[in-house]
Subunit: 251 residues, 4 copies
């Protein structure tokens, strides 16, 4: 049994994690802490893996403290920069188990979204055209989504690496309908009541199209990815900092 | 048998019409004319309905001449303005059969596209959100398509008539991904090698979505609509000028 | 303000109704009752419209009692047969307001599903081919869904009324992949973890396709339809029994 | 410049190949032969790669003869069995360039279809549920398509290899709508006028869905794959017989 503690257990995502851990046959819930609780209660004596799902302003401090206490951490909180990640790497190096501690950070735990991104990039060099459409609920404040930006940039990089030129586009007049151009890839953002988080990549050649679509219908969509990360940290994940769920998928 | 003459018979669309007329069990091909041919060969003696599919610069002149010769006309050429349509109305009033002659002009002969537009507008007032995505081959010079503009404006009008306010949209930062805003309706245009002409309308409420999509895979997609118009002119269409294929659909 | 009472308020659907009524600016919650509570508490003095969302075994009794008490009822419970509906009609005729009482029963309150069904049937006679694909969560015990059966039968009826023959299909060998044939219309049922309730109707002609798709992502998708029915009963709905949400949509 | 000869140049697919070779900047058309023409005209002196697109009854003989003449061959004709492939392997071993000759056979040259199949199989072990929907024109005589059968079997194999059990499915009553079960994977076949060849794989977990869709709109969709194979044979493809376009994609 993997002993899992949750930090941010009363938050929306953290609550889902508590429930998912309780429902997993190979895990047991150790501690469920939230803001104000004493993080030092968590130690290798009672916990194999911590899942940290709080807010960007609190997350770095939590992770550094947990690393100092010698436990492995799966981090679901967003807002990580390269600078912050570097602080985590240094904390691991200076920690109680310098060669062995594991921290995992992922911008997106939805397996379907991570696979869609990966497949779109793999396919990119075989198609003349590629565009990205992301669709979200209308309460989202940023457009396009970070995932769509990532997908577009990765498609652009794959095309450049394959020596491909710009995509065909004879458009002469447009009032903005062609969307945002990210490294040469057009990105479109739809905001629609009823949707949650969806991304579609369209790839086209003469006479054919490949469509790769990921639908995240609710927050529960992150849980299979969180549990997968917990299992990998408890088992064969390499020591040190790992970033991105694709690191844990056999692709 | 409906006797059909084709003007613009050597053009891409006209060639399809010739073939479609030959394949229709209830029609026979009378005359197939093209640029340089003598339009006065066409008369009520040899023709029931003319299908005119040429270029905007020639079409008005052709239609006025054909009306003066007393034949009914289905016009597939694009580029019609209200001013041009008014000239046709006057020609009908001054023609050899003032109370009886029929001319039909349609911006789009794809039945699926006309129905999609109609259904989207009917549904509009029942949904909080609505956006339009059109997808075309990359050789198209204008974006968005005229059909998408028409759909967006009609959705906006239906919402206004129902006393609905603006759609929910919390977007604060955007680099253009939200597309073109047409009367408050966001319109997105994709250009992809392999596609022909496609339009998708997304309508959303809390917990539900209605998607209406029309695919025109090739120019042949216009032929069922052209034949439908020919049959209606030869049968029970009202005298005078009729605009839009929806006039001939029982909706 | 429309005073709304809810019967079955502690059930999954009833709980959603209580919440939706509380969130509606033009409604106020009168009584929220559940199994064991005294239905006679509900009267025209405290309630304009009752929403009944219980179980098939209890629903007929509840509705007959509520009609006898003189209140109008929106019924969301399923399992209604023509025989049961007839009992409701007789109860209305024998009730305290014989010429004025209103009861509304609907097999499906999702506006998108009701519109999709309606549009598919309207479009059916303009297309050579039509097939239905429904997609649901894997815990559903019946296949295909009642909605898909209804759509298929209505498409078949529309084709017959238009004098259309069978759809083109050259299939000679098949191990069952062509699905269930309902009145000549092929119906396919997908069961997939992550989905809730979705239906897609594909209509095809040479060179073109029309796709009409309804997505119900969760139970909340029924609430706009329930509130619409409450408003119509409180306002201009005709007296007597009305069946089907399409009766309340301007189509 | 790669010198390309075409065998079956007057056939529907062969004609497309002739056109595609003429349009490729790095290729020139050597000989264009059809039934009745003398195959011995083709030799290493005038041809680098032959594209053979004829009929199953002629293809094996053509390929064996071309191998004996010492030229490399891309075979687009269908109907290959393991026994026939073995004859080609023996012909290569006994041919004029035993260690160096290259023959390529593929059941499907549509890059989008080959990628969709590959991605679906890669993703299969990460999802509880997976189903396959293929959609074709109604003149197709077999259902489901060979491609859909292949995809379903490969998904089933990937699930077995990952130790996964059967997919969740509570269906108790069904009149055939659940489709054909291929190694435990449900396969659905749609036949619709207007479509050509399309396949969609749906993969689902709690709260999320991954959809991978390949659209082949017309025969031109095979040409990018044919040209890719010609280039690989002229360049770095391994000697001997290679089967399947995925062998030439970096996946």
């Amino acid at each position: 049994m993997i002993r899992v503690s949750v930090v941010g257990a009363k938050g929306r995502m953290g609550g889902h994690v508590v429930e998912a851990v309780r429902g997993a046959a190979d895990m047991e819930l150790a501690l469920a802490l939230d803001a104000g609780d004493d993080l030092t209660l968590i130690s290798p004596e009672n916990t194999d893996v911590v899942v940290e799902f709080t807010v960007p302003s609190a997350s770095l401090g939590n992770v550094l403290a947990l690393v100092a206490q010698g436990v492995d951490v799966v981090v679901g909180t967003t807002g990580w920069t390269e600078e912050r990640l570097e602080q985590v790497r240094q904390a691991i190096a200076a920690g109680p188990r310098p060669g062995g501690q594991k921290v995992f950070v992922a911008p997106n735990f939805a397996i379907s979204a991570v696979l869609a991104d990966h497949f779109a990039v793999q396919a990119a060099k075989y198609f003349e055209s590629a565009e990205v459409i992301e669709m979200h609920h209308p309460d989202k404040v940023d457009a396009p989504s970070g995932t769509a930006l990532h997908t577009a940039r990765a498609i652009a990089a794959a095309r450049r690496a394959a020596g491909m030129g710009p995509m065909p586009d004879a458009t002469q007049t447009d009032g903005g309908s062609r969307g945002q151009v990210v490294d040469g890839v057009h990105v479109h953002a739809v905001r629609l009541r009823g949707l949650n988080a969806h991304e579609e990549v369209l790839l086209g050649n003469a006479g054919e199209q490949l469509v790769i679509r990921a639908d995240s219908f609710d927050r529960g969509s992150f849980m299979p990815g969180v549990l997968l990360a917990v299992r990998r940290l408890a088992a064969d994940a390499p020591a040190g900092l790992t970033v991105g769920l694709d690191s844990f998928l056999d692709l």
